[in-house]
């Protein structure tokens, strides 16, 4: 794959059909909440129009200077408690092209496994210096990077003793509405990954492995932070060699 030169994409070309086998099914009863929240009808496939190949464009000035620094963006009296980590990676499309200027939004629990959210009642302590959210835009190489503390695992009411592995939520907004994606990143070596009912909604082991960030010693900050790498793939944009009628020009 990496040796293949991707075909040129026209700006309004279609995106590849979504490979549904890459994703969890809507109805995944091991994750109980999905039972009543999953459509029973099959989604209807449509040919993409301008509505699907466009998406909001975000500008750097919309984001604050500390938005991507979770160690500092909610710090009140000092640094948050926990293991300091840098998380970084590349956002590419299925042809390997960088997705530039993608909005990457992240959120997570603190080191105790507690979320700063009005609905989270877990006994784990809140950290007055940790909000748990951040956001950034990818650069011209599709690269993103942020600093945070490693989130803790926490229990949740699915079966009575289910625990979420440590994870960071990611929301990706690329160049097209069809590329919109929400996922979760896990940490290499976490034994809870294997038994997590939400991880297990994904039918494909390779797809699960791709959600597990690898420790990246080359990017450790000496005497400060470890680093993890998490690459993300969004849907690929096709070339339009023979047909380009998406905007309604005559055939």
């Amino acid at each position: 794959m990496q040796d293949l030169v991707p075909p040129p994409a026209a700006p309004d070309a279609e995106y590849l059909m979504r490979d549904t086998a890459s994703h969890p099914p809507a109805f995944a009863p091991g994750y109980k909440t999905s039972v009543l929240r999953s459509p029973r009808n099959a989604p209807i496939a449509i040919s993409q129009t301008l509505s699907e190949v466009t998406a909001p464009v975000f500008l750097p000035q919309e984001l604050g200077a500390l938005d991507h620094d979770l160690l500092r963006n909610y710090a009140r009296t000092g640094a948050p408690v926990g293991e300091r980590v840098v998380v970084h990676g590349y956002v590419r499309d299925q042809f390997g092209r960088p997705v530039r200027n993608a909005l990457v939004e992240v959120w997570q629990a603190n080191a105790s496994g507690r979320y700063r959210h009005r609905n989270d009642q877990y006994v784990g302590a809140l950290d007055p210096n940790f909000g748990g959210c951040g956001r950034m835009l990818t650069d011209d190489a599709g690269h993103y990077v942020f600093r945070t503390i490693k989130p803790g695992p926490y229990p949740w009411r699915n079966r009575i003793n289910d625990w979420r592995p440590a994870h960071i939520h990611f929301a990706l907004s690329g160049n097209a509405w069809a590329q919109r994606l929400i996922t979760q990143m896990y940490f290499e070596g976490d034994p809870l990954i294997a038994t997590c009912p939400i991880v297990r909604t994904i039918p494909d082991e390779g797809q699960v492995r791709a959600l597990i960030a690898q420790q990246d010693p080359a990017q450790f900050v000496p005497l400060d932070s470890r680093a993890y790498r998490f690459d993300i793939v969004l849907r690929g944009q096709r070339a339009t060699w023979f047909e380009n009628r998406i905007q309604g020009e005559a055939a």
Binding site: D12, P25, R37, N41, A45, T49, V57
Partner: protein
């Protein structure tokens, strides 16, 4: 056969999606600039409307932790994106056409303040009826759901819309048409979404 990279697997947005996408709703203030549900400024061109609704689960219970995003063209039917090169339609510098709304934690009602979009060119020269796209994520939703909102008072355009006409079961098309009401002098389009059950909303594989 040539292998492509596989799209990263989706995972549910979870119950605390607000922390990342709408921290004020989660109960705290962290960013200077929050992305919200008001798409207009005083300078925006077009007819002011509200689009609101509730997302119901298969038991009919409102989802009170859902996040909905909206993407639409401007009043002339043009998207604020470089791929849109439709002739004769101007961009509106005061309208991006994107927003996100959280359902109320008590009632489950979500709401957008926006403008009615113009019609956008469809494929092969067929005009699409005015519509907005919605993307729905929440705890229990494993892959974000795509749907479209059409407008009750565009019956003629809706009848010709190539996407609506693609829905084989005519009885299901009405799940995509928002009901127009008038409230405090403002048109309010009501668009309730049913994830499951008798009136299950049509979702699209885009």
């Amino acid at each position: 056969m040539i292998d492509l990279l596989r799209e990263t697997a989706s995972q549910t947005a979870g119950p605390y999606v607000h922390i990342g996408l709408a921290p004020k709703a989660a109960g705290f203030d962290v960013f200077e600039n929050d992305f919200g549900n008001v798409l207009t400024t005083p300078a925006t061109q077009g007819e002011r409307i509200v689009i609101e609704g509730v997302v119901h689960d298969g038991s009919g219970t409102p989802l009170r932790d859902v996040l909905v995003e909206l993407w639409q063209a401007n009043s002339q039917g043009r998207y604020a994106h470089p791929a849109d090169r439709q002739a004769g339609k101007a961009l509106d510098p005061a309208f991006r056409g994107w927003g996100r709304a959280c359902s109320d934690f008590e009632t489950g009602v979500w709401r957008f303040e926006t403008i009615k979009p113009g019609a956008v060119a469809g494929r092969g020269g067929v005009l699409q009826a005015p519509h907005v796209s919605l993307w729905i994520v929440a705890r229990g939703i494993n892959l974000g759901l795509h749907t479209r909102v059409y407008f009750e008072d565009e019956a003629r355009a809706n009848a010709e819309d190539p996407v609506l006409r693609l829905i084989e079961w005519e009885v299901r098309r009405k799940t995509l048409v928002a009901r127009r009401e008038q409230r405090d002098g403002l048109p309010v389009y009501r668009f309730d979404i049913h994830l499951q059950g008798e009136n299950e909303t049509v979702f699209f594989d885009i």
